[in-house]
């Protein structure tokens, strides 16, 4: 039985890869080939779909927009979550448990519930259709998650570290930035990974809060699908390209994920 153990992850990974393979292989087909016949791999291999995306600004600006707001969101979420997570892991204060649970409840709020109020709120303060609007809206579910993850990691660091640093004459900010944050670097990596992930994949809010200037790539895809009929090859190429940033991020944080999870209480 022990020898056949590798079979389970292998079969699972094959199952994961099949739909992705189908998408990637479609992106190299012409729309005619996709609709006309059933072929397991591209018969008339073409890069036309990718060329359209990289030369047409309505396509490639979508990627740039997505990357900008995801980056703003990740930096913002992790930065404000760090001191808060420290407070939750080190101190008891009035209402701390309630506050923690309240933060988590925002993770439960359905985006569909908030879409319309968000639209009105951000229009009212004049940041509708900016990268900041999407980044801010995504903090609603990313900050609670970042606080939750970081708190787990910080609680794993013994308090003696803080006390020793104070004895050595560090001020709190110096201790926090120079000693504490590097100690939980793996936790910061994991938190940033999850913030990136949830901001990158979310569409409902991103679509509601943008029109032209900050429109995410995923929204560009839905609009093309409805306006120009079925450009399946083009859609497949655009979809394939949305997988790449995620794949790069996973590659960089892979060791953090394995080690990071093990270190923290996550």
């Amino acid at each position: 039985m022990a020898r056949a153990k590798w079979l389970i992850p292998t079969i699972y990974i094959i199952f994961l890869m099949l739909p992705i393979y189908w998408l990637v292989s479609m992106s190299f087909k012409t729309t005619n080939e996709i609709l006309g016949s059933f072929t397991l791999w591209p018969q008339n291999f073409t890069l036309e779909n990718y060329r359209t995306i990289f030369t047409d600004p309505t396509w490639y600006t979508g990627y740039i927009n997505s990357i900008i707001y995801v980056t703003i969101n990740t930096v913002l979420s992790v930065t404000v979550a760090l001191p808060a997570a420290y407070a939750f892991s080190r101190y008891r204060f009035l209402g701390d448990k309630h506050l923690f649970f309240w933060l988590l409840t925002n993770r439960m709020a359905p985006a569909a519930v908030f879409a319309l109020p968000f639209f009105q709120l951000y229009s009212a303060i004049g940041i509708f259709d900016t990268h900041l609007a999407v980044a801010l809206a995504h903090t609603l579910f990313n900050i609670p998650l970042a606080v939750w993850i970081l708190e787990g990691f910080m609680s794993g660091v013994p308090k003696q570290l803080d006390e020793t640093a104070y004895v050595d004459g560090y001020s709190f900010p110096a201790f926090f930035v120079k000693i504490f944050v590097p100690t939980i670097a793996a936790g910061v990596g994991v938190a940033a990974f999850f913030c990136f992930m949830f901001s990158w994949v979310e569409l409902l809010l991103a679509k509601t809060l943008t029109a032209v200037a900050a429109k995410p790539i995923a929204a560009t895809m839905t609009k093309t699908a409805s306006s120009s009929g079925y450009e399946l090859g083009l859609l497949a190429a655009a979809g394939t390209l949305t997988i790449i940033p995620g794949a790069i991020v996973i590659y960089f944080v892979r060791n953090y994920i394995a080690k990071g999870f093990a270190l923290g209480r996550v």
């Binding site: 998408l23 407070a87 008891r92 109020p117 409902l204 979809g239």
Partner: protein, 287 residues
């Protein structure tokens, strides 16, 4: 860890509090506001009291959507949690294959949700999709755009594909945190592999599995984009989950009052389930 009482810790929490409050409280109040008013457009509002709440709670349409939602969430939890644990147990603990497994398994998690929906939409088409064509070739009459049963099958398979990896990652993290000494001790005592799982691995995974169940519960209850792209709630209303129905009422029909009342009921249902689960699972952890 014994924590010191320090009220100044509030200053550390303040930035988070301000940002989240701005994002949560203002929109939530807007929703509450709508839920008790009637509007005929042009920004004219009338007090409606609790009428919308009564209407929603009594409407068969809401009951049906809630029923479908509970069925969906129950099914995917029953599949994804055990499957995730089994895969995590079978994964290598050391060596180069760990990274390969983690990177490949995390892939579906990082694909935008509408791309996931579109991908499965095409994957399942009976004429040109790999899944649809294969099923039809081996003799199943599979067509998810026409048959509700097939639509459900595709929806659940898509969610299992999309999210099982999250459970795997979390369960795996719990497993690798178990020191080798535990296993050595178990071997000396002659414990069976079931006993090792039941008395060493499962208790050690309790915390991460709590997180996994909570995250999967919340997210599957909120699921919108993937089913909306995959089936659009159809055929008919057979896969119209709660948030699909909500968006139909709010943005499709622009019935803001009922939509807001439904949002609040919806939110309270999630809150209630999560709170019960959280309390039960963390009970006894405080001591």
């Amino acid at each position: 860890m014994n924590k010191t009482v320090n009220q100044k810790a509030w200053f550390f929490v303040a930035p988070v509090l301000i940002l989240v409050a701005f994002n949560a409280i203002v929109p939530l109040m807007t929703v509450v506001n709508y839920s008790v008013q009637e509007t005929f457009g042009d920004n004219v509002f009338f007090w409606a009291g609790l009428r919308w709440f009564e209407e929603i709670l009594r409407s068969p349409r809401f009951h049906d959507a809630l029923g479908r939602q509970l069925f969906f969430t129950g099914t995917i939890l029953a599949i994804e949690i055990p499957l995730g644990v089994i895969i995590a147990l079978a994964m290598p603990r050391k060596g180069p294959w760990v990274s390969v497994c983690l990177v490949l398994m995390a892939m579906p998690l990082l694909i935008p949700w509408n791309v996931v929906g579109a991908m499965w939409n095409i994957f399942g088409l009976p004429e040109i999709g790999l899944l649809g064509k294969t099923l039809n070739t081996i003799g199943f009459d599979y067509n998810y755009t026409r048959q509700p049963g097939d639509a459900w099958f595709t929806l659940i398979l898509m969610d299992v594909w999309h999210w099982t990896s999250l459970v795997v990652l979390l369960a795996y993290a719990g497993l690798v945190s178990i020191p080798d000494a535990y296993y050595q001790a178990a071997r000396i005592d002659g414990a069976s592999s079931w006993a090792i799982f039941r008395y060493i691995q499962l208790p050690k995974m309790k915390r991460v599995l709590t997180i996994a169940v909570l995250l999967r519960f919340m997210d599957s209850f909120n699921i919108y984009t993937e089913p909306s792209v995959l089936t659009g709630g159809g055929p008919g209303n057979s896969t119209t989950l709660l948030s699909l129905d909500l968006v139909k009422i709010a943005l499709g029909q622009f019935d803001l009052g009922p939509a807001a009342a439904m949002s609040l009921i919806y939110f309270l249902v999630i809150l209630l389930f999560s709170w019960i689960f959280y309390t039960v699972m963390t009970r006894g952890e405080e001591q």
